[in-house]
Symmetry: C2
Subunit: 194 residues, 2 copies
DNA sequence: ATTTAACCTGAGGCGACCTCAGGATGTCAA
DNA sequence: TTGACATCCTGAGGTCGCCTCAGGTTAAAT
């Protein structure tokens, strides 16, 4: 039905690159303070650019979100690769899960977009989500092979748990952030008894 | 600063009541199919009423959501009271949790509103949320007293877990609903070892 | 029948989204 | 240096949803 999902790529011309970067910086700031549904017109004007220019580089809101979060998620995947095949599979999985929850809740509304993208190809973030899925699955498999995590837990279920934790974190206020405890309780449920 | 939160109450005049009910019915339908951010103008026109009439009865979206979900949540609270002091505290808690997750995810976006209302007085749904909080806390306390649930779990944490499960359910597609498994894993984490 | 408080209407201002025709400009090759 | 052109930028304007309010209508009480 549709073509491949649009992935924003840095433009060739100097002014294009400048504006692309300015928009991305403004978007990161705006998303962080106003959530994923921040005003695109605000972002454009904050970047010192007309609204049409923003749409030129990022035809959809999802493509802008993808570009704004790509680096962080790439780091997450890279970190997973560094952790894989370490001496402590359970510790690696747990550390990675904690980190993932933080990245998933970079700003309000992100985790919903990622959860959507995880199983919906044709979404800008789908590529990165798939990579994360693989990373998480690898770490999970290793921890299961070591007998430290219940063997019937699937990667999909792992991501449901991570997403839930990230969502709770998203809802948190400065005085009330239950996400750390949330993850702790979840870990209690998925690790095997000593 | 502000007065008490607005709680929609059925109006006195016959035409007022008629419209109030029609709006509520239209809202329930719209929320179910389009989520909590359904168009209020659509709801009004679906109810055969001008937009001003909708705003007369429900000055804010939150007040309409509250009215649309009050019955269901009242049932949930009533059910909790029926379950309290039964012979099987853990079974009661688990049954109630399952039911709560279903109610929290009646439509897309609801659980976020409820999570917000839980700790924010001055919100239409706060009253009902507090009642639920008490209900859940009672069931939790009973299960803990029976030694079936870890004693360090607080009601706030219980609601974080429930909200997380409901959010996962909200994201689910017909072919992929991990919320039941989510709850199962969570229960594994909060129940005491046999 | 009169009165009146409750109720209803819908035009209109606002902000956000998104498109597109027309103009500006960097880049590259000659 | 100078075209030539593809890339890029602009911002007016159509659409939609939110919300208000001045003016008209009506149920219900006396």
């Amino acid at each position: 039905m549709d073509g491949k999902p649009y992935i924003a790529q840095r433009p060739k011309r100097a002014d294009g690159r400048r504006n692309y970067d300015a928009i991305l910086a403004a978007a990161r700031k705006a998303f962080e303070s106003a959530g994923a549904d921040a005003s695109l017109e605000d972002i454009a004007s904050q970047a010192g650019v007309a609204i049409g220019t923003l749409y030129r580089h990022f035809p959809t809101r999802a493509s802008l979100v993808e570009a704004a979060t790509r680096d962080g998620l790439e780091n997450l995947v890279a970190h997973a690769e560094r952790l894989t095949a370490g001496p402590d599979p359970l510790g690696a999985l747990v550390a990675w899960m904690r980190e993932a929850v933080v990245h998933f809740s970079t700003f309000r509304g992100l985790v919903g977009i990622l959860a959507q993208s995880m199983y919906d190809e044709g979404t800008p973030s789908h590529t990165m989500c798939s990579a994360m899925h693989r990373s998480g699955a690898d770490l999970l498999r290793a921890a299961q092979a070591a007998g430290r995590v219940r063997p019937d837990l699937t990667p999909d279920e792992l991501f449901d748990l991570l997403s839930g934790a990230a969502w709770v974190r998203e809802q948190a206020t400065p005085d009330r952030d239950g996400s750390a405890r949330f993850l702790e309780l979840v870990l209690e449920g998925i690790t095997t008894r000593d």
